[in-house]
C-alpha cells in the first residue's frame, strides 16, 4: 500500500499487484489496472536465470503455467504451487506465490493437505515423471481416486534426468539409457490408463511444442473443480538426448513436432502419439 507508486511503475519488481488493499486502491483511481497484469507478476525475477540446462523444456512449462494462472485472473494469495524432487521440482521456487517443496514423491500428499486445510486455495502441482509416477505412484492412485481438487502437471521427459540419465518408469521400450545399455526391456507405465480408470477423471496430454494446447489444458485443469492430470511431453537433452545422438535441444523439440499430433475430440482414449484432453 505504501509503495503504490513503485507498484504502478515497475510491476515485475518486488511489489507486484498482489495484495487486496493494492487492488482496491488502484481500482478506485485507475479502473484498468487489472489489464496491466501479466504472467511476469507470478515469477520471481531475482532468482533468474534458472538452474536448468540450456534448452530444457521445464522453463516453457513454467512460463505457460504462470500464463494460465494469470489469464484465469486468480489472485496471488489464492494459488499454491507444490512440487516434488527432481529437475522440475525446482519450479515451485520460481513462482512468486505461496509454494511448497518437500519430500521425494510426496508432492500429492502435501498438496492434498494444503487443499484440505483451506478449501479456497487453488493447488497446482508441478513435478516430474520420476516423482509422480515412480516413487509417488501410490499417492497418485489414491489422490485421483478421492478426486481431490488440484491440477497436477506432470513433466514427462522419459528419463531420470537429475541423477544422470537412468531408466525411469516412463522410458519407452528399447531406449538406450545409462542403466539399460542394450535398450529398456520393459513397457512404460500407462498414465492415461491409471487416471481414466477412475469414474470421474480428467486426463490431458500435451507437449512443450504445442503451446496453445498446453495453456488451454492447464486452464481447463485448474478450473475443473476436481482432480486433473496433465502429462506434458518434454525431453532431456543433456542426460538422455546426447546419448541418443541428438546435438542440441531444438532437434528434440523438432522430434516432438514431427511425432505428436493434437486430436481435438478424442473418443474416450488417446493413442500413443496423440495429444488431447480426455474427461468425463
Amino acid at each position: 500500500m505504501a509503495n503504490w507508486k513503485v507498484t504502478l511503475l515497475r510491476p515485475d519488481e518486488e511489489h507486484g499487484f498482489s495484495s487486496f488493499q493494492d487492488g482496491v486502491f488502484l481500482l478506485f483511481f485507475f479502473p484498468g489496472w487489472w489489464f496491466l497484469m501479466s504472467y511476469k507478476d507470478y515469477i520471481k525475477w531475482e532468482r533468474m536465470p534458472s538452474t536448468w540446462c540450456p534448452g530444457c523444456g521445464i522453463g516453457i512449462v513454467l512460463k505457460y503455467a504462470a500464463m494460465a494462472i494469470d489469464e484465469l485472473k486468480i489472485p496471488k494469495e489464492d494459488v499454491v504451487v507444490v512440487s516434488g524432487i527432481g529437475c522440475s521440482g525446482r519450479s515451485a521456487g520460481y513462482f512468486d506465490v505461496e509454494s511448497l517443496h518437500g519430500l521425494h514423491g510426496r508432492a500429492l500428499a502435501m498438496a492434498e493437505g494444503v487443499k484440505r486445510g483451506n478449501r479456497k486455495l487453488k493447488v497446482v502441482v508441478i513435478s516430474g515423471d520420476g516423482d509422480l509416477l515412480g516413487i509417488g505412484g501410490n499417492h497418485l492412485l489414491h489422490t485421483s481416486r478421492r478426486n481431490v481438487e488440484m491440477c497436477v502437471i506432470c513433466i514427462n521427459n522419459e528419463i531420470y534426468g537429475m541423477t544422470g540419465g537412468q531408466m525411469s518408469p516412463t522410458t519407452k521400450k528399447g531406449t538406450v539409457t545409462l542403466t539399460s545399455p542394450e535398450g529398456s526391456p520393459y513397457n512404460p507405465v500407462n498414465a492415461q490408463g491409471l487416471i481414466t480408470s477412475n469414474k470421474d477423471h480428467f486426463y490431458a496430454r500435451s507437449s512443450v511444442f504445442h503451446l496453445n494446447h498446453l495453456k488451454k489444458s492447464i486452464q481447463e485443469g485448474i478450473s475443473r473443480g476436481g482432480f486433473s492430470f496433465i502429462e506434458v511431453i518434454s525431453y532431456c537433452i543433456e542426460n538422455n538426448g546426447r546419448r541418443l545422438g541428438f546435438k542440441d535441444a531444438p532437434e528434440m523439440l523438432d522430434l516432438i513436432r514431427k511425432n505428436y499430433k493434437v486430436n481435438p475430440s478424442p473418443a474416450g482414449k488417446l493413442g500413443d502419439l496423440e495429444l488431447g484432453i480426455v474427461k468425463t
Binding site: 533468474m48 536465470p49 534458472s50 540450456p54 534448452g55 516453457i60 513454467l62 542440441d248 531444438p250
Partner: protein
C-alpha cells in the same frame, strides 16, 4: 537483481543475463532472422514480430515489442 539487456535491432531485446544460448529461438524463427555469433544472439533485420521466439524461450531471454 537487474539482468543486462541489449537491443539487437528492430523490436527485439535480448536479455544477456538470462540467456543460455540453447538456440531454440534460432530454430523456431520462421523468418530466419536470429543468429548466434560467438557468444551473442544477433538479428539480421528481418523480424516480422510474430513473437514465436518470445513464446518458446525457456529462459525468458528475448522480448519482442508489440
Amino acid at each position: 537483481m537487474e539482468a543486462e539487456k541489449k537491443k539487437i535491432g528492430g523490436p527485439l531485446t535480448w536479455i544477456k543475463g538470462y540467456c543460455k544460448l540453447c538456440s531454440i529461438c534460432v530454430y523456431i524463427c520462421p523468418a530466419k532472422d536470429l543468429m548466434i555469433k560467438g557468444n551473442e544472439i544477433v538479428s539480421l533485420g528481418k523480424c516480422t514480430k510474430c513473437q514465436l521466439c518470445e513464446k518458446f524461450c525457456p529462459d525468458f531471454a528475448i522480448e519482442v515489442e508489440k
